[in-house]
């Protein structure tokens, strides 16, 4: 214990309070939102890092809000598991801002929503109270719906409404589960719950099991497990390009973290293994999602939609790992949570960059990308390789531990599903890689740019700009061979405001790709962070 615990409530309170600042300043100044968000998220990165340092040096940090007894009041806790997620959330939130500076949705209200989202996500990672978790789930949900709807097209509002209805049902299911658990135990604090639940299970097993069932269904919806995933592809596809990286990277990850926290810290491995058919159900739901998500991803034509289905399958892997209830599987799930978040943030950011600079949104339109934009194509290839799980990359370490856990638990079908998911990931990644590197651009590219200029020349401002952007990109690429990327960049930057690729966007993609690879080498280190104290405490 050290004196950093005062930072815990600030992690949640500061972004939420500051989320009002862009609106207030917006009355006088036009573009202050980004600066406020950047300052706040940078401070949050510093705060979470300081807290994580303290956690890994001296053990969990906790703070009782208002000094209330944790049995009645709300306690904030940061331990070895949640510290990882808190740092991930803060770093992603700060990193994605590099993209939205030029490319993302603008306006001060957007950044208000962004800060609200960040505060909610940090709240999910630090809260030690099951009802408080529900409130943060809903705060994150609300901010996410608003941010998805900030897209330009009308489709985004439909996608957001669909997500709102399904997301609310999911959170409400969780709330019913909390109610049943509260009936059985009379407390909402996670730490106290873990102590009194075994006695409650003995008294009235049906009540606790019913509570678990509601919580499981609620989280299956929130984490997007097949067949409750239907909101996710629409939401990811129609959200603005600058929003998808943060939603895909940390929102689902925070939900999955919360589910893991409830499974292991509240219900505990003993309850999971002693309840008949419970682990089998969780593992089955996860495995079915892996298979269904990968198969659906293979048949998609839209790249963002394909990545969305890929998320369904990757989170299926994590849920299945939770259901295995072995130490290796749990470590694998945690590493895969972090690794997948980094990879997906990079992939969606890269998809956004490509949509702007190359005007490509479907798999077929990616043809010839590597010649035009070698840097983005290269980074995307690296990220796809990490997603497949080719060593040494973040995807490999997570899947390795999960497969190891499946073998330890003697559940061979799960090990086979992990292997199968790798093959299916290869199938849809290879489609993109093949288009980018081996299909020439000519049949699609040649008629593309001139035609759109010729047809809707004077009518539509937005379209002309897009075409002009693509034109400029072509010019740049045709020019110098060595500095293709920068030449194209300069050409576009000089060209106008909306359709530009900034260095910040490229930096985000490059940073995500490099992080995805280096996390592969750091896999053992990540496992070491969890291993000594947290794992022993949970599993013994």
């Amino acid at each position: 214990m050290s004196n950093v615990d005062f930072l815990l409530p600030l992690l949640v309170a500061v972004p939420m309070l500051l989320s009002t600042v862009p609106i207030v300043l917006g009355l006088r100044f036009d573009r202050t939102g980004w600066s406020v968000a950047a300052l706040t998220t940078t401070a949050l990165v510093a705060a979470t890092t300081a807290l994580a340092n303290a956690v890994y040096a001296t053990g969990p940090v906790s703070h009782k809000l208002g000094g209330w007894n944790p049995a009645y009041g709300i306690e904030l806790v940061l331990d070895e598991f949640s510290a990882l997620i808190a740092v991930l959330v803060a770093v992603t939130a700060a990193g994605v801002l590099a993209y939205t500076r030029v490319g993302g949705p603008r306006g001060n209200t957007f950044y208000s929503g962004y800060l609200l989202l960040t505060g909610g996500l940090l709240g999910i990672s630090v809260t030690g109270d099951v009802f408080n978790l529900f409130v943060f789930l809903e705060i994150v949900g609300l901010a996410t719906y608003a941010m998805i709807a900030s897209g330009d097209g009308p489709e985004s509002a439909v996608a957001a409404l669909k997500y709102l209805i399904l997301g609310t049902v999911g959170a409400s299911m969780y709330l019913i589960g909390v109610g049943l658990i509260f009936m059985a135990t009379g407390t909402l604090n996670m730490g106290v719950l873990a102590e009194v639940l075994p006695a409650a299970v003995e008294r009235d097993p049906t009540l606790v099991r019913a509570g678990f069932a509601f919580i499981f269904v609620g989280f299956s919806m929130k984490v997007a497990q097949w067949p409750l995933h239907t909101w996710q592809p629409d939401a990811y596809q129609h959200a603005p390009d600058g929003v998808t990286p943060v939603i895909a990277a940390v929102v689902s990850t925070a939900y999955a973290y919360a589910f893991g926290r409830l499974l292991y810290s509240v219900f505990g491995p003993e309850f999971l293994t002693s309840t008949p058919y419970l682990t089998e159900l969780v593992v089955t739901v996860g495995c079915v999602s892996v298979v269904a998500g990968s198969v659906l991803a293979v048949i998609q034509t839209d790249v963002k939609r394909m990545f969305a289905f890929s998320s369904v399958s990757q989170f299926g892997l994590i849920v299945a790992a939770y259901g295995l209830v072995t130490e290796s599987a749990f470590v694998g799930a945690t590493i895969h949570l972090v690794g997948h978040a980094v990879i997906k943030a990079g992939l969606f950011a890269a998809a956004g960059v490509i949509a702007i600079s190359y005007d490509a949104r479907t798999v077929d339109e990616y043809a010839g990308l590597a010649d035009e934009h070698p840097l983005v194509a290269g980074m995307m290839a690296l990220l796809l390789i990490s997603l497949i799980g080719i060593p040494p990359s973040a995807g490999f370490v997570g899947k390795w531990y999960i497969a190891l856990g499946a073998v330890e638990a003697q559940l061979w079908p799960v090990a086979i599903v992990v292997l199968f998911s790798t093959l299916m990931t290869l199938a849809y990644s290879a489609r993109l890689l093949e288009k980018m590197y081996f299909t020439p651009a000519t049949p699609l590219e040649a008629p593309h740019a001139p035609e759109s200029v010729a047809t809707d020349g004077g009518e539509d401002g937005g379209d002309t700009e897009t075409a002009a952007g693509a034109d400029a990109a072509n010019d740049g690429a045709a020019g110098t061979r060595g500095g293709t990327e920068t030449a194209a960049l300069d050409a576009i930057t000089a060209n106008g405001d909306r359709n530009t690729v900034s260095y910040g966007m490229l930096a985000l993609v490059v940073a995500a790709a490099l992080l995805a690879i280096s996390l592969g080498f750091a896999g053992g280190f990540l496992a070491g962070l969890l291993d000594p104290s947290f794992i022993t405490e949970v599993f013994n």
Binding site: F131, V135, A149
Partner: protein
């Protein structure tokens, strides 16, 4: 047997009402084509949960006002579920507001509130 069931129904009628309301809300969300009615279904679904929390905290006795002396368990209603319901109501209102805002935008863009018409309009585009 029937007497026992009737007794359970008489003492636990709030819980049966909860599941009836949950079912109606869920059915409205799934089956109703009108987007506003879908949102009303979500609200009904949430109200059922509020009712559940209040029913669970009910005891024959006094309101949770503690005047310094200690009370035995079961004498006074637990204030925690009521606080929870208050918070959940606030969350529900925020959700309804966001949902209605989205519906207004959908109506402005597509000129319809019905999901089947919306599907046709989107398929045409």
């Amino acid at each position: 047997m029937i007497e026992l069931e009737l007794e359970i129904l008489a003492s636990h009628y709030a819980y049966s009402l909860l599941f009836v309301l949950l079912g109606i809300g869920l059915y409205m969300m799934i089956a109703n084509e009108n987007l506003v009615k879908k949102l009303i279904g979500v609200n009904l679904f949430q109200s059922a949960i509020f009712l559940f929390f209040i029913a669970m905290a009910y005891v024959d006795g006094r309101a949770p006002i503690i005047e310094g002396k200690s009370h035995s368990v079961g004498e006074i209603a637990s204030p925690l579920p009521q606080v929870i319901v208050l918070t959940a109501i606030v969350v529900g209102i925020a959700l309804t507001a966001v949902g209605l805002a989205l519906i207004i935008r959908i109506y402005a863009e597509y000129g319809t509130l019905r999901e089947d018409t919306l599907r046709e309009v989107r398929a045409d585009e």
